[in-house]
Each structure stands twice: as C-alpha cells, then as structure tokens.
C-alpha cells in the first residue's frame, strides 16, 4: 500500500499495528504461562497470568482510544476504514483471548490432587494449547503483514482444535463415569478445554478481519461462492 499524503496518518496507523503486536505478545505469553502452570501445577505462575490480564486489558483500552481518534480525525475510507475497523475488532478478540487464558490459570489454582489419574486428558489439553498458542502468533503476524492467504490457512486450523476438543470431552466423560471421584477435577479440565476451544474461535474472527480488510467481504469458510 502506498503512503498517505499526510505522514502523521501513517504514523497513527503504525501505532495501531504496534499496539496489536503488543497485545498479541501479551496474549501468547499468558497462554504459554497458563499451560506451563497447568503442566507443573504451579499456582504462583498461574497468579502471574491473572495479573498479566490486567495489562492486556489496558493495552486494549489504549488501542480502542487510538482507533476512535483515527476515525474521528481522519474520516478514513475504503481500505483504511476497513483496516481500522478490523484493528478494533482484532484488539477486542485478543482481549477476550487473554480473558480465557486467565480463566485457565484460575482453574489451575483450583486443581490439585487428581492430575495423575487424568494424565491423558491433561496431555490433550496441552496439545490443544500448543496449537492455540501458535495460532495466536501466526494470526497476529498475518494481521501485521496483511497476509490473507495465511489468515485463511489459520482460520481452517480451528477445525483441528474443535476435533481435539470433542475428543477431550468424550475422554473426560468416560473417565468421570468410570471413577466418580475425578468429577470435580474433570469438570475443571472440561472448562479449560472449553476456554481453548473458544480461543480458537476468537482467532478465526481475527482471520476473518484480515480477509475483510482485503476484500470488504465476510469470509464464510469457503471461497467457492
């Protein structure tokens, strides 16, 4: 994209990109640490994650203020308008992803005692978590580079998360039927899996935003329409 005639306009848009980048890093950090806390049953680390979410929310507020200011000052049109709308949406999606990471961390602090019997489901949660972490990094990268092909590829990765989450549900239900003493822990793990599944959905929303910037249309999961 060519530069704007007014240079400060480009500076303001770059500022939004920097903020999205910072939010993406914060999200990824939160989720990585939440998963680490789960792995090591590390309550202190879990609490750090919960604290980081406050930081992420502040970043989002800043991003939103800047975007609103851009709308008011520059009355952007066409690709600029679509970009700013998508940046606001991306910020709000990342903020939600942070909430889910913090929720996972909160459950870690409640968990305890049953990790041995539920080793397999926990491993599956870690697997989903690794996928989700990579998707966060990649989708923020795709946003910053306006790479629509990459965005659509990430969009479809969510199917893998959904399938793994469905398996997690089946496995945990079976474990809980077998041994009712794990119901409390099992429920917490379902909750964590659900958080990861929702994170995947929010990432697809970001990918749709990238598609929207490029095309002005809503991506509905297939290009053959």
């Amino acid at each position: 994209m060519e530069a704007h005639i007014v240079k400060s306009y480009d500076d303001e848009i770059n500022q939004l990109n920097t903020q999205i980048s910072a939010m993406g890093a914060s999200c990824e950090w939160q989720l990585a640490k939440a998963l680490k806390a789960l792995e090591n049953m590390d309550v202190r680390l879990a609490e750090e994650v919960i604290k980081e979410d406050v930081n992420l929310n502040a970043l989002y507020k800043e991003l939103e203020e800047n975007a609103v200011m851009l709308l008011a000052k520059r009355t952007p049109l066409a690709a600029d308008l679509r970009y700013i709308l998508a940046a606001m949406r991306t910020g709000s999606e990342l903020e939600r992803i942070g909430d889910y990471a913090a929720n996972i961390a909160r459950r870690v602090t409640e968990l305890g005692g049953c990790e041995l019997t539920l080793e397999a489901p926990i491993a599956l949660i870690q697997e989903i978590g690794v996928l989700a972490r990579r998707m966060i990094t990649d989708v923020v990268d795709a946003f910053l580079k306006q790479n629509v092909e990459s965005a659509l590829e990430i969009w479809h990765r969510d199917d893998v998360i959904d399938r793994k989450f469905a398996r997690l549900m089946t496995d945990l239900r079976a474990s809980m039927n077998e041994d009712t003493s794990v119901v409390d822990c099992g429920t917490l793990l379902i909750f964590m899996g659900r958080c990861l599944e929702r994170i995947g959905d929010h990432i697809t929303n970001i990918a749709e935003g990238i598609y929207y910037i490029e095309t002005g249309e809503t991506y509905i999961g297939t290009l053959e329409t």
């Binding site: 066409a78 600029d80 092909e149 490029e214 095309t215 002005g216 249309e217």
Partner: protein, 304 residues
C-alpha cells in the same frame, strides 16, 4: 445455414471463455485476494448505465481552445431518475466540465467543443433545434459561490418564471415565490423581508435562494457545482438536508470536493481522473470498497 460441429464447438469454447472473464468482484471472491484495477487502466470500471435514465451520455469528448486541449475523454454515463449522482476527483479531472455539458453551459466558453451524444429523456440536447434557454430551465444549475441577482429576494425568484412565461399575474407569481422559497427551506427566514436585496442574506441563505430560483422555473434536473464549498458546516448541513428532500422530485448531479458530502448525499458516485471517468458505482461501494486503484488512492488520500 447449419453450423458444422467444429464451428459449434468453437462457438461454445468462445462463450465459455467469455464467462470465465471474471469481474474484479468475482476475482476477489475466487482468490480471497482483492485485486484493484491497475492505475494504468483508463477504461471505466463499474456499471455506467441505469434502467430508464433521465439523462444519457455516450462517448462524450470536450475540447477547449478550439480543439487544442482535450478536457474530457470518451465519457459514457447515465443519470437516473430521482437520484443524486456525485462527481468526485482531483482538480482538473474534468468533473465540472462534464457537469457543464449537461445543460450546455460550455456553449458560453469560446473555443469549447463537445462531441458525442448527451440526451435527456431520449432527445439529444446538442441537436441544432434545441433552444438552450428552456433547456437551462429544465436543467438548472447552482454554483460554488452563491450568485443572487442584485435585486430583492422576491425578484430573484420571480424573474425566471416571468421570462419563461410560467406566471400570468401577481397572484400566481406570489404563490410561486412562496412555494419555491418553502421548498428551498428559506421561507420562514425571509417571508417578512421579501423586498430586501438577496445579496444581504448570509452565504448559506444566498445559496438556498439560488436553489429556490432554480426550482422556480420547474426544472427536472438540478446541477450543483460544489454548492457548499463556500459555506460553514451548519449551512452545509442545511443544504445537504435540502438535497435529501429535493431528490424526491428532481434528479441531482453534484460536483463536490468533499468525499464525506458525496458519501452522505448521493446514491451513485463517479470518480474522474485526468479527463477519464475511472469508476462509477453505488456510493456505498465506492467509499467502502472501490474497484480501481486510482479511486482508492484518491479517497484514502494516498500518493498515486
């Protein structure tokens, strides 16, 4: 005559090829990648025709200085009934020149030549038997700088209808003056001082007086050449509100440098660049998702 099988196959293949030539919108849908029409491409992008147009322009060229300078180049564009069509583009792009063709205002410029066809309700307005005086009543014009006659408010409105023979007596004239001022949203502000000079009004009021004067001769089309560029935001808002009202009865073509104004008042927008009509389409689409790179550059304020 029967076609051979080979000819039929060839024809089918050609038809298939034609179908495969995707429009920019289709390209976007198929690839997920937006592909704007390249800057070098000067053929008009978008649907220039409308069903049952009020005015219809085909292959219009305009030259100034007796053919020395070509101001607009092969423009074809329909203007629909009861629509507001906005013409945008950088200075010197030909939008005002084009607007002035629509009521033959360019006739007054020495050395200006108009080629091609411009018809209103099917009749070519450049035919030899067309009298420009009634034409300019039918296709009225409002200019950038309000230009009331140096006469009373009343006379500003009454003058046109009188010379066009639209009123027979004082009562009819009074009624027409009141009606026109009401439709231009100026009546309440001036009804007690109709005998005072039109030039004594504020800029926004003067512009509405000029609109009332245009309406008074019962036009079908109103051309507006940057009607708000000399007005403050409040007066501009009043004119824009008036345009919304007027489009119920009239067709309006407006040239404006304000893209926000074009996006607010018009249903279709035409983007001109160096004498070419680059893109024409629904206003919403032009401002959210234009198809031509030059349109995108202009409306987003980028270096082309």
């Amino acid at each position: 005559m029967q076609m051979t099988a080979a000819e039929q196959t060839a024809e089918q293949a050609e038809a298939d090829m034609k179908q495969e030539e995707a429009t920019p919108e289709e390209t976007v849908k198929k690839s997920g990648k937006r592909k704007l029409v390249a800057r070098e491409e000067r053929a008009t992008v978008g649907e220039m025709a409308v069903e049952n147009p009020r005015m219809s322009c085909r292959n219009v060229d305009v030259y100034y200085n007796f053919g020395e300078k070509k101001a607009i180049n092969n423009i074809s564009l329909d203007i629909g009934r009861n629509e507001v069509i906005a013409m945008i583009g950088p200075s010197g792009c030909g939008k005002s020149t084009f607007l002035r063709c629509l009521n033959r205002m360019n006739d007054t410029i020495e050395g200006c030549q108009v080629k091609g066809e411009i018809s209103m309700d099917g009749k070519n307005i450049y035919d030899k038997d067309v009298d420009v005086v009634p034409l300019r009543a039918q296709v009225g014009m409002v200019f950038q700088k309000p230009n009331p006659f140096p006469k009373s408010i009343y006379e500003n409105i009454a003058y046109g209808p009188k010379i066009h023979g639209l009123v027979q007596n004082r009562d009819e004239t009074d009624e027409l003056v009141e009606n026109s001022l009401k439709r231009a949203g100026l009546w309440n502000e001036v009804k007690d001082r109709l005998d005072q000079p039109g030039t004594g009004l504020s800029g926004g009021q003067q512009q509405r007086l000029c609109i009332a004067r245009t309406i008074a001769v019962n036009p079908e089309i109103i051309l507006m050449d940057e009607p708000c560029s000399a007005l403050d935001p409040i007066a501009t808002a009043i004119i824009e509100d008036l345009i919304d009202e007027l489009k119920q009865e009239y067709t309006i073509a407006i040239v404006t440098h304000s893209m926000q104004q074009a996006s607010r008042v018009s249903q279709r927008t035409a983007y001109f660049h160096l004498g070419d009509l680059i893109e024409i389409g629904p206003t919403d689409q032009i401002f959210l998702n234009p198809l031509h790179q030059l349109t995108e550059d202009y409306i987003t304020g980028r270096f082309g």
